[in-house]
């Protein structure tokens, strides 16, 4: 059984796709959710761990393509792009053999796509779309979405409840983020300073050396991040400290 998540900013478009998925009975699918933007989508992907997402390309603030770049390659579900019309994107899909369907959705085409996704074992390589650095990092604050530029982030860390971000703005002190530390490390200039911490090198005010080859980093806005033994050397190399 395929666990499916539908991500599209238009309500009727979501309804139509879900209806079409329900109507076919060749492939066994379970619709685990539907989201109306990429930020919700990221959250649901982490929560529900779907096998397959239907991803609209044109969405507010963060497009389907950008959202794809924010997913961790190791836990990435299979992706079928959905679009009404987008010449350039379609060309890219064709070139890289990505799965896509066009709106209005043709039931036969949908079925073929489902069957192909079900039978493919190898994970698809999305590098052609996803190797650009991220320009906006979506975070969920209290009752709101916050879109941070990577330069506004001072510290990113993870704990049992997920990834959190400390920004340099007074009002965005702590937000939870649906991106993994690994994605953030790869696609922004944040540096690893601890197994659970990333630090923005431009926000470092002070590296305080402690006993046992440990250290602490104090950021410009006064936040503190621990530095583990393993990463201290790398930090020193980076800043040419001896």
């Amino acid at each position: 059984m395929l666990k499916v998540l539908v991500i599209d900013d238009e309500q009727y478009a979501r309804e139509e796709l879900i209806a079409l998925l329900d109507e076919q009975d060749e492939v066994d699918v379970e619709i685990v959710g539907a989201c109306n933007n990429a930020i919700e989508g990221l959250k649901k992907v982490h929560q529900l761990k779907p096998d397959l997402i239907f991803l609209d390309i044109q969405m507010p603030q963060i497009s389907g393509m950008e959202m794809l770049a924010m997913l961790d390659v190791e836990t990435m579900p299979k992706v079928v792009f959905v679009t009404a019309f987008d010449e350039y994107a379609l060309q890219a899909f064709e070139d890289n053999a990505f799965d896509y369907i066009l709106k209005p959705v043709e039931p036969c085409r949908l079925l073929k796509t489902l069957q192909r996704v079900q039978s493919s074992v190898q994970p698809t390589d999305y590098k052609a779309l996803t190797n650009k650095p991220l320009s906006l990092i979506p975070c969920a604050g209290f009752n709101r979405y916050v879109l941070l530029k990577p330069s506004e982030i001072e510290i990113a860390y993870s704990d049992q409840s997920g990834v959190h971000i400390i920004g340099n703005q007074a009002d965005s002190t702590e937000n939870s983020c649906s991106l993994s530390l690994k994605v953030l490390e790869e696609k922004t200039e944040l540096l690893r300073c601890h197994r659970q911490y990333l630090i923005n090198p431009n926000a470092i005010r002070e590296i305080r050396l402690l006993d046992n080859s440990l250290a602490e980093i104090i950021t410009t806005s006064g936040a503190v991040a621990p530095v583990s033994r393993r990463y201290l050397k790398m930090l020193k190399d980076r800043f040419q400290l001896s």
Partner: protein, 563 residues
Amino acid sequence: MELIFSLLQQLSVYLVIAYLLSKTPLFMPLTMLSGRFSQRLACYVVFSLFCILGTYFGLAIENAIANTRAIGAVMGGLLGGPFVGFSVGLTGGLHRYSMGGFTDVACAISTTAEGLLGGLVHLYYMRRGLVERIFNPFLAFAVLLVAEVMQMSIILLVAQPYEQAFDLVKTIALPMIIANSLGAALFMSIIQDRKTIYEKYSASFSSKALTIAERTVGVLSSGFNQQNTQKIAQIIYEETGVGAVSITDRDKILAFIGIGDDHHLPGTLISSQHTKQAIENGELIFADGYEVAYQCSIDNSCKLGAALIIPLLDSENQVLGTIKLYEPKQKLFSSLNRSLGEGLAKLLSNQILSSRYIEQQTLLTQAELRLLQAQVNPHFLFNALNTISAVIRRDPDKARQLIQHLSQFFRRNLKHNIESVTIQDELKHIHAYLEIELARFSDRLKVNINIDEQLLMQYVPTFTLQPLVENAIKHGTSTLLENGVIDVTGYLENGVVLLKVIDNAGTYCLNETELQTGLGLQIVDKRLKNSFGERYGLTMLCQSGISTRAEIRFPYNKENHRC
């Protein structure tokens, strides 16, 4: 006393020659102090001649010559500067020296000194920026007076034997001082007159030309046709005061104003052989009625007796038409009007060309618009169809309505030829468009339309409001995570219609969207300016992340209120 009269007699001949010479182009450089080499050379040549002439016109007295040589030397210096003065004096002096006599050396020295004196006076006024004063005859009088006194002193000092020199000076001093000073003053006054006449001539020429140029600006911008050329002909007729003015294209008379307008009728074919010839060969024809016969080709009793026909040429020298100036039989064609006519032809040719350029620009805008309309936004179309697919499931009646709206929208987009529509029609178009978009973004878009009823019958260029609304959705509210709100308002403010489309996205300030939307909005603005003038049009105001306001302004037309 006798000497004074004889010397003055000689002076008269001298001045008559000067007067005659003043009629030649050789004199022109003397009236302008340009300091250029050509002017200096002319000064040197003319005044050296006068200097030598002065010696020849002199009266031989006691082995010496009473003369008016000093005039040439001093005037040369005054008008040409120290170097020219010195050269003229030296030339005249050497010439005098070659004639011998006991004062030969003294005269050669004094003439050179007089030339230099004139030059120094020139330098003095030059340094003070009072060059124009050099043309004052009284100044010439005074300088010559000084120069002659100086000459007499040099003769007394240099010439030997002293007694003979003293006697000579006693005889010639007064006559020469009077004759030379008077002569120089009169000579200068001839130059001054010449200068005044020339300046007046060019001043009236330029002022006429400028007035005509100013009054005709833009008249031809809406085309080279009967109505506009009639206006131009009227202006030329008033400004030049010729008997009649006519403008033709290649085949017929477009405008005719003045004597003979009872039978030279606009719209009739060209019958004059002269005009046909001018058009055929692209050449100017001047039928002065004497050398080149002129007879009106339409009516033998026509009072017009001379015509100047100038072809209007485009940039490739193709004849566009002609402009004709006429004078009646009893009046002479002034040369001023002749050269003015040629200038006018050039001016009109340029205006015709620029009006063609504007016309082509307008055509280009229309072509751009067509292209824009033909570009049915595919993203909009397929999303609309997808929405309808979904609506069919839950509400077939609503789906049917949406299809109607979609058809209405596209039908309207395919109508290419309508230039302008009422705001009411434009609102219907927006309505059809919005019904689809509101269905698509059913849960997160709100549009408020509030247009004053008195504006509904006002005309705007087609596709004025709808592109603004489309823009506000496509590049504005659809990029928002939160709900989008668009306000469309219209009201009257001091006789000006104000239409506003305001969204709550404020994304227009970002350069990336500007690039995509630029062309469409530019065309909206350009078409409004074309219809209503440069003062009106579209302005975009943006507060980043808060709102984008598109504002249209154009004058309220009272005749189109609602009936």
